[in-house]
Symmetry: D2
Subunit: 345 residues, 4 copies
């Protein structure tokens, strides 16, 4: 049994982690922390979370936690994670950090989008937790920087094509759309029901902080500097994310090459599904699951490729992938605790 | 292992049953039938249902089924169920019928709301599948008439108070509100997105077919003819149901009597939760679960009791309670396969 | 031309008033005030409000306003209204107050639900602005206490029946449901998109502040103390309100009596429509209009009457009725500026 | 007074036309036709349309209509329009056709996307009703092919930049998102509430019929063959459309050039608004209006331009622009009947 702690358990990502770990056959939830709800049980905070009356939110006291847990998920804001990670590792607690703090190899890229990094040396040790791509490195790691939701929805479909040289690296656009839960539980005018409901808009056009994260990973895998065009939008729904990605095939690339490459990368993957020709995914197809569904269109004449990918932003885009990474770290199959069947509604 | 068949697997209730049985540790899904999608796999019909490529919708051929299954769930329209149930029982297949056909003890009550009953003799053998109330009879039965969603949300809170004489039987009102999935997958103007979205209305005022079902059960337990006032409404959301019930306490009834009675009936029940004073449930608290949450207000001066109950109409109101009944029938604990933790979103 | 000021123009009710007055053929919007957005134009605050670049939010400086306006709408929180109304009247500015401060005749009733009233003497002069019922008094008044949204949806259908003795005054229940805009523009957990979306709940069961307002008006018109049972609920939609009202007919009352009474009260009213037998209103039928649609069911045997009424909570429930009252005050027909046709979407 | 007929008045576009013409100060609604509801009044069909009890849906009998109307709006399916237009013109009835039948100059382009055109000679006489761009030709025309919703949202922002040579014609992508009302009132699985709600998807990737319409107009204005990449998506909301358009600036183009060009084309236009730098529109900013709001981002380094445009698909994308075209045809200012103020909700 893996003994698990969750820091920041009262946020939307934290509570998804609580749900997944509670339903996990090989993990035991031993501790939860919350700044805002210290001393309260999860059932107090979330009436839907029945049976958690004895799971009381505590302070993030690492010494105390180290007696009880093998691994901690940090569902904390960036910068706050950094304050705890070095000490957690010293206490031999494995860390899966869902903030941006350990996603970057290049501290400068991190610092350009966030703030001064206070434990740069750990960036070399941390692994980017895109499970299907970095599985081998995750296995051997003590510190996983869990990917952002937008990057996950974009990198999973793009990386195989880029690595195999099937698409041009200089003309990549992702038009991405996220449900409101991506903005978290904090109150803000843009997440007020009356403002988000029956509306839709682009935001942070040209300067969303997930852009450098995507660029770094794409650049590493294509061995050249890549700069994608990324525009996020806010959907009037709670969970789910869809990215429509526009790329150009390199000379000689055929539709079949693309399909075969996807098959070779993801044919055995439980959580990535490549759809048949002329079939495209909807958010409802993956809501409540850890899956990423990918459909694509290839225009033979213009060499344009249009890829549509969907994930549940709280699962494959956050808590689900984090648990998948825990499974990998502890030598379990990826699906452990993540394979319950989800219906259409 | 319980070998299970599901008839009508391509409707919203049918597919919820598929989901629950697939996630159930003691049951195996052996056959699914569908009129509209014969020959298609569930994955073809519902892209979210991955891994069901080999589960092909077949005809409801009882002889063939009898070789393979111990129990069948009928997620069929009323009248269609009746055509199959006698033969299913002859072939020693246990039946949990989610239509209205075997919910009534009194054929006349059934016929006044539906149509001529073609197997009246079975009404004496069938058990009304309100699990918490009829558990003992369900255990011994081969035919369960699974309750309607509205009746479940109304009877669970009302029956204990009526049976113990705490409320007056002559003045009961239930103002009930259901999500759109209650209307099923068939297309109709009232379930067109643009009509239901951003709207809300009462329907079938004074003559909804669930009224005689509720009245029969209430009457049996209070040993007098009861006629409730029931008004259903359509909520602009997919899953969930809330009933606000207005009753009058009998002389001498105190708030404490009500709370103690609920405690005595439901204190050990895994799926019914009585909320603390001044606390009321929301649909989001039970969505995705088999639970019924109940809060109540007692006006000492006027003797008015206001009860608010919520369920997920597709689970405790249909497929979830059906699986709970299967568990009871086969001697499993009620929670088997139904106790996964659900988060707030 | 009526010169109009609007105080609190940046709230949802305030901005609806801006919209209505701007579209009004006989009124001119001369001043808007806002605490939070002083110095900003309405177009700055609400990008949808184009053409208001020169309408700058100012302080509520009564002396300055008195040079420019004949009437002011106060879309302010209760208590704040009270601080300004006496001075406004001294400066000969007519007042339509949308807070609760001048809705009550009985200061004690007000004070039990809100706080100490600081201008009790004005309660005798103020008129309750339920336009169809108090039209004559509104005409002659300088101070209108504009009704709450819930009270409007309940009083319009109930008052004619109570005044004519058709229903029993001792057993009145209103189960009411409001869209989220009723909670205003201020941020709160219950109006966060992810919390309200796909959910539904009752709130303030047994103690909502609109209850004494409803009771006072009902009591005045039935010449006895009335205490209704009122339960508000929060709908996952932006605009609209539906009340389902349960009352008992007095002996001898027939369905025809009810219909004739409604006809006599509302047959000539432009904004109240009584629906045909077996027809019930939906929120979508009145959204964007100043109308109240009423359908009813009469159970001859039990004498139960079920009334369903719908309004747009921001229009007939607030800004629309306020403008209707302005029209009455200035001798215009009620419909002036309020009769644009609204489609089904 | 302009005497107006509306054919297909019971669809969502038709009923919006009814609303606009009814609220129009210079037009009179004289006749409505409907296949499905012949003999019924609009109030019967749409309870929200009060006061239309005497407006009875009739057959499209051109001879009879020609006695009563000056102009007809055809809110009919493509192909059906074609069957009536030649005769309508013979009877001297001006036509604004909201189907695709008269949007194309090139019959072959039409026929590749739709079907055989039966009155090709009229394609030379018909004018494409993109009001701001074709105003002069519309003035002199008797037959307007009213643009599709997607084309309107894409062409308004693109045409000025293409005509002035500021963007490259060979690399244009529009990622467009529409509310469900765009799919009309007919029932279909994809517009069932439970399917569309809480979901989002791309559809007709690579082959939507609006693509050739967009291409033809772009090609005419850039004097070369243009083939855009266009991907439509379905939003879980009723009204509104947003297009995110990705283009490349030509050498030497500056951000200021773009802004000045927009200013020169649209600075005096009442219904097109160019937003300030770093500001992007939301669907809620134009819902209920005939406006198109446009924001853009210019990446100096990469020459990428990202344009975000929003319209109400039923107004500027259909009925609103049609009425604007009627105004132009009859020498009225564009805003007549279209300039009522709309609030944020």
């Amino acid at each position: 049994m893996i003994n698990v702690g969750i820091a920041g358990a009262s946020g939307y990502t934290g509570v998804e982690l609580v749900k997944l770990i509670s339903n996990h056959p090989k993990a035991k939830l031993c501790a939860v922390t919350s700044n805002s709800y210290k001393g309260k049980s999860l059932t107090d905070i979330f009436p839907s979370m029945r049976g958690f009356d004895n799971l009381i939110c505590e302070d993030l006291d690492i010494k105390s936690l180290s007696q009880r847990i093998d691994i901690i998920f940090l569902a904390l804001p960036h910068k706050v994670s950094m304050e705890h990670v070095p000490t957690l590792l010293e206490h031999k607690i494995k860390v899966i950090d869902l903030s941006a703090d350990y996603r970057f190899a290049d501290a400068k890229a991190y610092e350009s989008a966030y703030q001064t990094h206070t434990s740069k040396h750990l960036l070399q040790k941390s692994v980017y937790g895109l499970s299907e791509i970095y599985r081998d490195r995750i296995k051997a790691s003590n510190l996983v920087g869990n990917p952002g939701c937008y990057p996950t929805s974009i990198l999973l479909p793009l990386l195989p094509l880029l690595k195999e040289g099937l698409v041009r690296p200089d003309d990549i656009i992702s038009d991405s759309k996220s449900g409101v839960s991506g903005a978290g539980r904090s109150l803000s005018p843009s997440t007020h029901f009356c403002e988000a409901n029956e509306s839709f808009n682009a935001y942070k056009v040209g300067n969303h902080r997930h852009t450098p994260e995507i660029n770094e990973i794409l650049s590493i895998h294509s061995q050249q500097e890549i700069s994608i065009t990324f525009v996020p939008h806010l959907l009037p729904l709670t969970r789910g994310m869809l990215s429509t990605i526009y790329v150009r095939a390199t000379n000689g690339t055929s539709e079949n090459d693309i399909r075969k490459t996807y098959q070779s990368y993801y044919g055995d993957e439980p959580f990535v599904r490549i759809l048949d020709k002329d079939t495209y995914p909807a958010i409802s197809h993956v809501k409540g699951t850890n899956c990423c569904d990918i459909g694509f269109y290839f225009n033979q004449k213009t060499k344009q490729i249009i890829i549509v990918s969907v994930i549940d932003n709280l699962l494959k885009g956050a808590a689900g992938q984090a648990v998948q990474n825990m499974n990998i770290l502890f030598g379990l199959t990826d699906e452990t605790g993540l394979n319950s069947v989800q219906g259409p509604l």
